[in-house]
Symmetry: C2
Subunit: 415 residues, 2 copies
Amino acid sequence: MTGTGEPSSPATPRRRAAPRPLPVAVDTMGGDHAPEEIIAGAVAAVRDHDVRLVLVGQAPRIRRELDRHGVVGTIPIVHADEALDMGEGALASWRKPRSSIAIACHLIRQGRASALVSAGSTAGVVATSRLRLKGQQGVMRPAIAVTLPTRPRPTILLDAGATTDVKPEGLVQFAALGTAYAQILLGLERPSVGLLTIGAEPAKGNKTTKRAHELLAGGSHGIEFAGNVEGHDLLTGRVDVVVTDGFTGNVALKTMEGTIRTAFTEIRDAMTATPAARMGALLQRRRLQDLRDRLDPDTYGGGVLLGLNGTVVIAHGASRARAITSACELAHRLAAGRIVERIREQVAQTRTSRFGRWTHGDRDGSDRQAERGRQNEKAPDRQSGSGGAQLPAEARAARKGPAGDTVPDRVQGED
Amino acid sequence: MTGTGEPSSPATPRRRAAPRPLPVAVDTMGGDHAPEEIIAGAVAAVRDHDVRLVLVGQAPRIRRELDRHGVVGTIPIVHADEALDMGEGALASWRKPRSSIAIACHLIRQGRASALVSAGSTAGVVATSRLRLKGQQGVMRPAIAVTLPTRPRPTILLDAGATTDVKPEGLVQFAALGTAYAQILLGLERPSVGLLTIGAEPAKGNKTTKRAHELLAGGSHGIEFAGNVEGHDLLTGRVDVVVTDGFTGNVALKTMEGTIRTAFTEIRDAMTATPAARMGALLQRRRLQDLRDRLDPDTYGGGVLLGLNGTVVIAHGASRARAITSACELAHRLAAGRIVERIREQVAQTRTSRFGRWTHGDRDGSDRQAERGRQNEKAPDRQSGSGGAQLPAEARAARKGPAGDTVPDRVQGED
């Protein structure tokens, strides 16, 4: 998945001349094996993969661990008093403003980190990041992208559970998020995007997917829309990106996992039947175990939260050092690929087309005029976004600079 | 699944004294192997399982087939001019009012048949039956119930794709439909019902499932609500009935099927690796093939359409004689178990509780008082149901008797 560490075709950065991205903030306190395995993984990422990191958590404890690895002083540490327990969900993000995840988000907002890696509980990480990082301008809802173990190359599925109730336009945005993510992760120029529903024909699905199909099929979103896909297409690699709401995506992922587990049990039962079966089955067992590992119960938690002002890589709760190293590499790679900016660009195209379809019956009319009209009608519940896509990057950055520096203690108009 | 042919505890019939149910109408023209395999299966059902049937389709053709089996004259035939092609969907039900499925529905409405068996395309069968049989009184939407291959006993999942957009109250009704079905199919007094969503806690899910959870957990529906279940619970047999909307259910079933197919491919690849693996793997292969067969691509089509004025058993499109025999037995068994009446009773209880919960914000007030209040404010769009749950069964039956006897020609205020 990672390994090379750099995207295949890095676009020229606009706002910052530095060729290297900011460090990745690692939450050392989240996960079943925190902090030992988290810190061991982080050390390996720095040592073997040249990833810049900053470790967030209880400073004395982190120092002790770094000392064990003989690398005290080489990785910056930011102290955090509290940690979210693995059992804690969304509410904890309010109760614990000084949690390691909250502090890591703070670093991103201050411009001191580019991304966040945590193996904490998915619900806690998602809630805290949504609260602290806020949704990216123009993005209605965030989505968790997970990587399905398809061949020859993986398929990205989103949303795996961040947003359960999604409007058709939200699904179109997820398609944009997934496109940007696949461009960086898979190095594809125009990744193909399928809409998860219950039949190949456009008219198959529920109200939301039918409308989303219309929007995706009709617009020029910069999205390579490949039509509807069904549940049995998820593991065939038919498309690069599968788009669905967080409810359906989560059910599908867990169904996949449960089915693998059942198949595994059936095989194991069969293997104990005869000595020949026991002997010969080792190979299959390994293959199935491999498949099962790839479809781990926590798969949906092993994803990337997209659509916020900063990238959040959610590692499995059970992550060991190696998984944390991979997560750090992935976060680094996404930051280097300017994922947040790519998403902004991708979503801006979507938005244009979307409002074109919505507000203007006249799809074939003057593009320029429609374009202007669209921009004026944007996003009533966010800051006035006239020309968000057209404004120079500097102007945009300046406009949201002050907000970026402040870490609010309360949610401000989260929608 | 069947075999005994009779429900474990048949309730005393109220409206008809006849101990034997009406014959089952078999659509001989639907399915990949129609009419030969359909008729062969039907003949076996009559001969070996004492199921009364009526065969619907092109009479000369049916007679020829019956002649081949040497049973001409023993099974009644009703002629139908047309058939729905396997590729035809919902629209065909309008275009072909004389199709074999439409004629079979007609027999049910005339009181000449109790149920319908078809191996035609799911979309065509569902659309035609909805159009011709109409929704059962009080049932908002029909649902397809399928049987998942869990152990020790099967789990029933509904809806597998009949109704894609379902309100919370619709899910509660599906729970009632599934309860009635499980009582007959599995012979359970109080089958446990789980709500398919994305977390065990009541607050996990989308808006619809969260509300449905409240309704199911709060009411006295005659439903044994076991709480939320997740995708990975589908094949563990944790509950007897899993309730979901037709969109999610269909995605979950197809995901299951696709995952089995992938696991199967992985195993087959591994099996070709070494001679030892090839030899020893035969057993596993059979087990996996078995699991794969049970989770056939057409599983969602191999179900029972519940909630109409008559029971519709949808056999797989690829059904051979044996599958048709089973489908006939199942239809017979459901008719003997008075499934339509059981659903009516079950849904009536649901309705009472549902409206009670709706109109009162006061969930912590005096139970007795609230209960009374709830009953008084029930069902603005349905018959006044004061005390539906408390009234003796006879009184309820008496009150809804006349309506139950009338089969409307048009949909009346289907919501």
